[in-house]
């Protein structure tokens, strides 16, 4: 009897925490509804399967909402107010011809070359009442009022087309020069844009310069301002500068290589290359 007490005093106290479940207990739970145990598995059919019925994704008929979105062209909206602001703050130099490169270098827009649907810049007329800068600007599309506002101050505006690759090269010239490839030839516009870029009313780069001069006078009469004579202007030489239709950069011909490290431009002297690069 005394031994029993000694044994009990040496054993650990019984607590809920000191007990352990029986190792021989059943591992799978009994489903009380079914009443007996059966093996469970978590295998499910494929996503969207509706157990014999027509699934939701097949009930609704197909329709081409996004059919040609990858072929559409987008243009950055660029207002006259923004242009005036960039000139006031010194981001753009009005004493040089302005093209997409100058606008991208000002870093006001995030004009990344990888954005695959952008083809240029759309000049809007918002801010035409406060616009007073004399510029030589080249955009892709322009409103009629924006054209009139630029010409009223004695500037020159033209619309030009850049294909996808030329646009990328122009927006990020350093990235292009680092590749070590010769400068491309800019392509001519596709069929649906030829009528736009040969139209003197839109100051297209492929249109007749004589017709453009007529349209400048017509706009002045239509919008009610006196067209200044830019031939007598001190900036006349700069305002006359424009690019060849097959040229991407000012002053650089297709077929040339740019060496950024040695700060030189390499012009190859092969006949067939010279024919290719002839503007």
């Amino acid at each position: 009897m005394s031994n029993f007490r000694n044994v009990i005093s040496q054993l650990p106290r019984i607590n809920i925490s000191s007990l352990r479940p029986d190792a021989r207990k059943r591992k799978t739970k009994l489903n009380p509804i079914k009443g007996h145990e059966r093996p469970r598995s978590n295998i499910k059919p494929r996503i969207g399967f509706a157990f014999g019925k027509v699934p939701f994704q097949k009930k609704i008929p197909k329709y081409g909402y996004y059919r040609e979105t990858h072929l559409k062209r987008q243009y950055f909206p660029f207002t006259l107010w923004q242009l005036q602001n960039m000139i006031d703050m010194g981001r753009i130099d009005p004493d040089q011809p302005i093209d997409i490169n100058a606008i991208a270098n000002s870093r006001v827009f995030g004009m990344l070359p990888c954005e695959s649907t952008y083809f240029g810049v759309y000049l809007l007329s918002q801010g035409a009442n406060i616009f007073k800068a004399q510029v030589n600007i080249e955009v892709q599309i322009a409103d009629d009022l924006a054209i009139a506002a630029v010409e009223k101050t004695g500037g020159v505006i033209s619309t030009a087309f850049y294909d996808r690759m030329s646009y990328e090269d122009l927006v990020d010239p350093v990235g292009f020069f680092m590749k070590g490839k010769p400068i491309r030839k800019r392509l001519l516009p596709p069929q649906e844009l030829i009528t736009y870029y040969t139209d003197p009313k839109k100051r297209g780069y492929l249109s007749d310069p004589a017709l453009i001069r007529e349209e400048r006078n017509r706009f002045a009469m239509q919008y009610g301002y006196d067209l200044p004579d830019i031939t007598k202007d001190e900036k006349y030489e700069m305002l006359c500068k424009n690019k060849d239709p097959r040229q991407i950069y000012f002053g650089l011909s297709p077929g040339w290589l740019v060496n950024l490290y040695d700060r030189t431009v390499i012009k190859p002297e092969l006949e067939y290359l010279q024919k290719y690069s002839a503007l």
Partner: protein
């Protein structure tokens, strides 16, 4: 195409044929010229000036000096004399006022709570002023008075001393920019 080639090679090897001759008929048909054309070129340093004007700048430029202010687009620089206030609000790197309108999300639920348990709270609409030096509380008091005629209720401001930020409840960016401009900041 390659699979076809491999099986052909195996077949010809089994039958003891010369595979190298066979392989030549399947190889590419580009004419390989042994002589290399030497390309003459001219390196010019003068034409590099056309490349220099394409390179982007590395810093935000300072605005040029204009004859009169405000400019056509409505910008004016900070005044040359220090304003007589116990604080100073400097311009940001773009030479504009450091005033922004934000909508701050103030729901505190952890990210994976189910939708029934999340309390729908409207975001706080605030106007923030940064780049402040000096007595922030004076600035907050002055902004309250500047905003009072335009607000429906009593204007509310909040000061974050550690980050030197002043918050004004509501959207008053233009009014605060006018106030800072009038005082010469």
């Amino acid at each position: 195409m390659l699979k076809h080639l491999r099986s052909f090679v195996k077949f010809s090897q089994l039958h003891g044929q010369n595979t190298s001759k066979m392989m030549r008929t399947f190889s590419s048909t580009v004419a390989q010229t042994d002589e290399k054309e030497s390309v003459g070129f001219v390196e010019s340093k003068e034409d590099f000036k056309w490349v220099e004007r394409l390179l982007p700048p590395s810093r935000i430029p300072n605005p040029p000096k204009h004859a009169s202010y405000p400019t056509q687009s409505g910008w004016f620089p900070p005044s040359e004399t220090l304003p007589d206030k116990p604080y100073y609000v400097s311009r940001n790197r773009y030479h504009l006022f450091p005033v922004t309108e934000i909508e701050e999300d103030i729901s505190f639920e952890p990210p994976n709570t189910p939708e029934d348990e999340v309390e729908v709270v409207e975001p706080q609409i605030l106007t923030t002023i940064t780049n402040i030096e000096g007595n922030l509380f004076e600035l907050a008091a002055d902004l309250q008075e500047a905003v009072r005629p335009y607000s429906e209720f009593d204007p509310v401001t909040s000061v974050d001393e550690a980050n030197c930020v002043v918050y004004v409840k509501g959207k008053y960016q233009h009014i605060i920019e006018d106030f800072l401009g009038r005082n010469g900041f």
